[in-house]
Symmetry: none
Subunit: 175 residues, 4 copies
DNA sequence: CATGAATGAGCGTTCATTCAT
DNA sequence: GATGAATGAACGCTCATTCAT
């Protein structure tokens, strides 16, 4: 899966199974010992990456702190994961926008983010978007996160600043 | 190109040139009279769609109105274009996230949005993101636009409301 | 199709499409210009061979002669076709016993033999097998034909004799 | 081998060794402890099935009865075996028509039928086919047997009748 | 002897692109 | 310029067979 991650980053989702196998230093056929199909590999990888991201985001959550602080903790973890795992992040992004991941897998992926989504729900419950559909807010949060990550990666010197700017923008949107 | 748009929407970017040719009611070979390669077709299509979007957004811009009003006018046009041209929008989205469009083409695409970007720049010049890199703000605007479009398409009855909610959120972010 | 016939004879139905293409002196890919799938090629070939066989068998049928004479005429033509076209015959036999030919195609093949089957029906209508199911008699006729062909091919000097012996045996069975 | 029989019936000769191993509840690799190659398995299975068939056919042969009666006894046993062991019969048929069984194995298989062949020889020694090559008559007998079996299986209610009809037809051919 | 992961050649099929007509 | 048959490399995937454990 690490090999697949690397190959997806460099060659996109059209990377051949042969390339992935080579990167993993196994034979073409062996890949199919571990994953029934290429789609299966992508699905499992998607879930693994999503899980990695979610678990990183929730790490050390100060359960008793204020909402804003909790949310910033998650946001900060999230951004940090993205910056520390640029390949995972890019592979996950590619998988996410592709048509390769079926709704069932997406749903399973979202479940991993449930805790985060729930926190976001609470944050916006009194804010200006309290009546917008949850998916709407979620999409905006994700895309602001993506944008923030991009700029933290592009300009690592000011990463911390970008992280804060992104969060503040998000907070203005929802809370 | 209209044929390509339709085919991309239904079959993704992996649609074969043969399918596109058929949809366009021309022969396999003729497609390559107009476009040197498949990538070339995609590039030209990307630019055409981007141009269509940009020109729609700028249509009837009230040059003398207040900034916020001008910006909302553009936003509103933009959302309207997306809702009225769902195929163009989806094809453009697919092209945008794929790795098929090289930076040069992307840059050319951005140029078409220059007027809009410029307006956005003016809007944020006194706002909380006045110091953030332009690309950062741009990315956030784009992703909020995408999210807003999605919800307008999904729930057309409240399209106008979603349009406004999206804009207000964006305004909170930048201005 | 001639190439496929030859390759099937020498390598069986597991012959690769690449081999068939090579034998036909076309490229791997071109084969799929003419036949959508390997199975399609086999189906079309089956029908062509069956048609060739049926038309050969019915050639010059003396419509006004006695039943036995008409039937022998067909039988004789049939055997002659098999001996003159050993490859077609063997390919057809292989296709016939394989699971590759679906019932629909088989039915279409049988239709081509309808005239022959009808004549056989009339021959047996007063004979000892008049009450046996038609398929039963058909199967026996076919297998006796196969056996006769084999021996005509193996011992061509006495081909004519074997042809007659086979026919007489069949006549004893049904009439 | 019983597993192989079952798998061949349901999946044809292209069944994978993995499937056969699974059906036999052994590991992939163990199969090759018992059989050097897949072809070897098929050869041994062919012989085993042929032996089963031959021994069933000869069971309880009334050595002192009239020729016709002896022959009918064998025929009857043979048909009964086929009806009682449809899987064995179908697997044997598949192996027989495939190109997988080399002449040497076929010869060994025929040897098991020697006793039956010998009896048939005696039956036809004064009949109309007394001068035909032995193989010719053999082939006809086999194919009539196959046809008879098919109809006994398809229409089990009249199995006994079909058995007799088939035998009478064969007797008319050879004796 | 039993295991099952690993192998890699081979399969049927697709498709962007070419080019003779 | 338009055509569409031809191309052949590349793909995802299978499977008989091997071999370290």
């Amino acid at each position: 899966m690490a090999a697949a991650t690397r190959v997806i980053v460099t060659h996109g989702l059209s990377a051949s199974t042969a390339m992935i196998a080579q990167e993993a230093a196994i034979s073409n056929g062996s890949l199919f010992t571990y994953f029934k199909t290429k789609a299966d590999l992508f699905n499992q990888l998607y879930l693994e990456l999503k899980a990695s991201m979610a678990s990183a985001a929730l790490d050390g959550l100060p359960a008793k702190a204020e909402l804003r602080e909790q949310f910033f903790h998650i946001w900060s973890n999230w951004m940090h994961w993205a910056v520390s795992n640029p390949e995972k992040r890019r592979a996950l992004a590619q998988l996410g926008v592709s048509g390769e991941i079926p709704p069932a897998t997406r749903a399973a992926g979202h479940k991993m983010m449930a805790k985060i989504a729930e926190l976001m729900e609470r944050c916006r419950s009194n804010g200006p978007m309290r009546d917008a559909p949850m998916g709407f807010v979620s999409a905006i949060m994700n895309s602001m996160a993506e944008a923030t990550m991009d700029f933290m990666v592009q300009d690592p010197t000011n990463a911390k600043k970008h992280c804060k700017v992104g969060f503040d923008a998000l907070w203005r949107v929802i809370a």
